[in-house]
Subunit: 121 residues, 2 copies
Amino acid sequence: MNYSSINFKEKLARFSEHWSPKIVAQMNDYHFKLAKFQGDFVWHRHADKDEVFIVLEGAMRIDFREGSVDMKEGEMFVVPKGVEHKPFAGRECKIMTVEPAGTINTGDTGGELTAEDNVWI
Amino acid sequence: MNYSSINFKEKLARFSEHWSPKIVAQMNDYHFKLAKFQGDFVWHRHADKDEVFIVLEGAMRIDFREGSVDMKEGEMFVVPKGVEHKPFAGRECKIMTVEPAGTINTGDTGGELTAEDNVWI
């Protein structure tokens, strides 16, 4: 039997909306999600979960209440649990997040940018 | 304060040995590790842990007792817990794995390709 790998470009071509992570893989109780970021997200935090961002294409920034981190293709960053952050992308940026299954994109902030949590592509 | 992202190319330039994963980040109780694969690894399995492979540069194959999966840059695969597998790369392939902290690269097989488990770069 031949198994299939998960191709990021192929998966990213299947959707266009921003700030709407799509699950592409599960590892134990974690999800790998692809998303397209553009503009400002909302300030939020995940009280007890670290969250990983990996930039697949483009560039983005994560703002903290003090300071920020710039990220581009081929880079990752771990936002520590409990730390308020706000992603921002001047132009569309394609990213992968890794986080425990059930993590809500807007954390404990909620609001209209809250995405449905369990969408696979 | 300005934080620093983790740049995969920069980290990969810091070592040359094959089959020797280096930790670049921790997320909760998981490690993100970079490695360079070339040639045949050993058959092994991780009894109770799924393991993720992400190809950053080059191409590789994972053989199973029945079948295989081919992977190239920009692709990932989740090897399910308990499934025997053997990575192979005809030419040097640069990859990232994601797995629970403390995972041994040769699983329950051991042997001379077993890498030290807790090396950060």
